[in-house]
Symmetry: C2
Subunit: 433 residues, 2 copies
Amino acid sequence: MNIPQTSFPRIVIVGGGFAGLAAARALENQELQVVLIDKHNYHTFQPLLYQVATGGLEPDSIAFPLRKRFNDVENFYFRLAEVTKVNSEENLLETTIGSLEYDELIIATGSTTNFFGNKSIEKYAMEMKSVPQALNIRSLVLENFEEALLETNLEKRLALMNFVIVGGGPTGVELAGALAEMKKGILPKDYPDLDIRQMKINLIQSSGELLKGMSNGASQKAEDFLIKLGVDVWKNLRVLNYDGETVTTNGEDHFKTATVIWAAGVKGDTIDGLTTECTVERANRFKVDRFSKVEGYENIYAVGDVACMKTEKYEYGHPMMAQPAIQQGRLMGKNLVAKYTGKKQKSFEYNDKGSMATIGRNKAVVDLPKWKFQGVFAWFVWMFVHLFSLIGFRNKVIVFMNWVYNYIRFDRETRLIIRPYKKKNKFSFASDE
Amino acid sequence: MNIPQTSFPRIVIVGGGFAGLAAARALENQELQVVLIDKHNYHTFQPLLYQVATGGLEPDSIAFPLRKRFNDVENFYFRLAEVTKVNSEENLLETTIGSLEYDELIIATGSTTNFFGNKSIEKYAMEMKSVPQALNIRSLVLENFEEALLETNLEKRLALMNFVIVGGGPTGVELAGALAEMKKGILPKDYPDLDIRQMKINLIQSSGELLKGMSNGASQKAEDFLIKLGVDVWKNLRVLNYDGETVTTNGEDHFKTATVIWAAGVKGDTIDGLTTECTVERANRFKVDRFSKVEGYENIYAVGDVACMKTEKYEYGHPMMAQPAIQQGRLMGKNLVAKYTGKKQKSFEYNDKGSMATIGRNKAVVDLPKWKFQGVFAWFVWMFVHLFSLIGFRNKVIVFMNWVYNYIRFDRETRLIIRPYKKKNKFSFASDE
C-alpha cells in the first residue's frame, strides 16, 4: 500500500465517519503513524442526508474531503480503499489496494442498512446511508412525479405518488416530514397539471411510538407534527414484504407504491476475518470492552456504530448515532496516546447530551438531559446544533445560506435529477437516459 | 404525452439551454400554449462547468430546475423526455414518452462534443458538455492521484499525473488554468507523499493561437498567464489519436497519459427526421434564415448552437456560445408572439457584447467591443458577469460564497468523488466501488 515504515507504531483506522475521524483527530501530531482508510474520499455528515434526498441541500455541502481534514498533520496517511479482511494472526489488514501491517487496528466502519434478511425488500426498497443513496432517492422521487404526469391509469398514478417510509426513528420521521413539506410548498407549483392532493406519505412504525429512545413528549409531539403536515402515521404495523409493487404488512393494510424507503434498522458493517464469537447477534456489532477493545483480541478495537459496548445502562450497547461514535472515537485516540506515552487509559462513559429530531419548518423536538421542549425554539436549537457540528467552514456557510433561503422562500431548490435512478420497481417504464 | 388540447396554438421547444429558455421566457403569458421538452429537469449554466470539474463549485449551484423557472406561467408545460424524431409532414414530434403535435417547433437542442469521427478518442477521452460529464472529470482527476500514490512504476505514475487537454478555446483554456491552480495550491497539501512537481498539464491547440475569435492581445495574454501557471502550451500541434494510453500527434511529441479532456470542437445536436439538405456540413447545424426558420420548412425553427445562420459577418454562422443563443432564443419567442398577434417580425442581428475567459486567480482576458483588457480587473469583470448571468438567486449566492471562500482560502473544497468514474483507459486497476 506504499506507506513508509518508520520507527513509530502504526495505527490503522478503518472508516472516516464520526468515530474514525474523532479517533484520528485525537491521534494527531504524536509519535505515532496514523493511516486512515475509507472507501470514499470524504466524510459524510449523515444527520443531514435526508435534506439531500429531499432537495433541500446540495450533496457537496454535507461532505468534507478527508484529505483536507488532515492537510497539516504529520505522519498521517489517507488511503482510498475498501477493506476486505483482517488477518489478526499476522496483524495484517487486507484491502482492495494491497495489504498493510498494523500495530493497532481501529475499526470504525459504521453501519449499513439492515433488511433483516428480506431479499425482496433489499432489492426494491431505497436506503439512505450514503450520499449516492440519498441522491438516488432525490432522483427517484422526482422521476416518479414526471411519470405520474404521463400515467393515465389511475391505480398506477396513485402508486407513483404513494410514498412508504418504513421505520419511525429519526431518519424515517425527518424524511417523512421533509416529503410532506415538499408536498405542501413545492410540488403543487412544479406540477400544476397533477393533482398533488393524491400524493400520500406513509410512515410505518412496528412499535407503538415514534422516535423510540426519546421522551414520550417528544414522541407524541413528533407524531402530532407529522399528522398536521399530512403524513399518515401507522403504528404497531409491521412490514412483511415489498415486491416492487405492493407493501404487505401483518395488518389489514397494504400499500401499492413505487417507492419504499427503508429506515427500519441498521446493522454493524463488520469486517471479515475476526472470529465470529466476538460479533454480537443483535445488530451485528463487535463486542467490545470499556476500552473499545474487541473481545478476544489485544490490538483490535471497534468504535461507533460497529461496536457494541454493553454497560449497566446500555445493555445492548450504545445507540447507533453520532454522539456515542464521536465520544468513543475521541477516547480511543486518547487512550492509544496514553498507552504509548505510558499514561493511564480511561474507560468509556457515555455522556448523553440529549437527542433531537426535526419534522419540518418550525417543528422539532429536543430532549436535553434536564429539559425537553418542542416547537419553534426546538427547531432553532436543532439547526444551530447541526450547523455547529458540520465539518468545514465552507460547508457551514453553504448550509446556512441554503436554510435561510429555503426558510424565507418556502423553497428547496436543488431538486435536480443529476443522475437518473435506474428503477427496479415494477412501475418503471423507459426512463433510461 | 398528456398535454391538453386547447384553442391556443401549441409551440413546442426542444431543449432548456440558453436558447430554449430565452424563447420560452419571451412566450410567457400569451395566448399560446408552450411545451418545453428536455432530457434533464434542469438548465445547465455551461460556462461554469469547468469549475465543477475542478472542485471549485458544487454541481447544484450551476443548475436550475426548469419547472421552477416557469412556476407561475399559464399554459406552460414541461416534459422530461428525449426527442427521437420529427415527423414534419404530420407536424408530429416523437419522443421517448410518446408523440406530440405542434403548430410551431423550436429546436434548441444545443451542441454535443465533436470527435470528428475518431472512435478511439470518443471512447477514451473525457468530454464536458453536461453536469454528469463534469462530475466524471472531477472524479477521474481525483482517482488518478489516489492511484498515482500507489503506483510504483514510474512511467505509469507519470501518466496518471499527466493531463492532456485538447483544444485551446475558452473551455480548454479555463480548464487548463483551473487544473494548474489545483496543482499549485491544493494537491501538494492533499498528497504530501506524492511529488506533485511531476504533474503535467498540457494544452494542445491545432492552430497558432489560443482563444481564436478573441483579440490578439487576449490570446497572447491568456497564453502568458497559462505558462506562468505552469501549463505546457502546445500550438500548431494536431492530435491524431488517443488509444487510452498515448496521445499521438502530427508532430514529434507524443503524450503518455491517463486523462485526455477533449475540448477541441462541438457540433450541432440535431434531431432526426428533417431532410438532410437543411443541415449544414460544417459543425452539423441546421441552416436557418434570419428569422431562425429551418431551410425548407415553414413552422420549424432552430436557435442557438444547433442553428447555422449565415450573415455577411458570420459566414459560417454565429459562434456556438451563450450570447448568440440567448439573443436568438429571445427574438424567436418575440417573433412568434408577433406572428400570432399580427405584428411585424424582426430579422436577427447579433449584438456582440464581447467575450471573455478566465485563466486563474486574478487572471482573465476580456474583449469588449471598444475596450480590451486583461488581468485583475478583467477577472473581477468576468466574475461579475458570470454571477449576474447565473439563473436563480440561490445559485448566485452559493456561487458567490464559494468564490469568496476559494479566493480567501486559496482552496476548492468540493473535491469529492461522489460517484467514482469507471475508467476506460488502460491505467485503471481495481477501482470499482
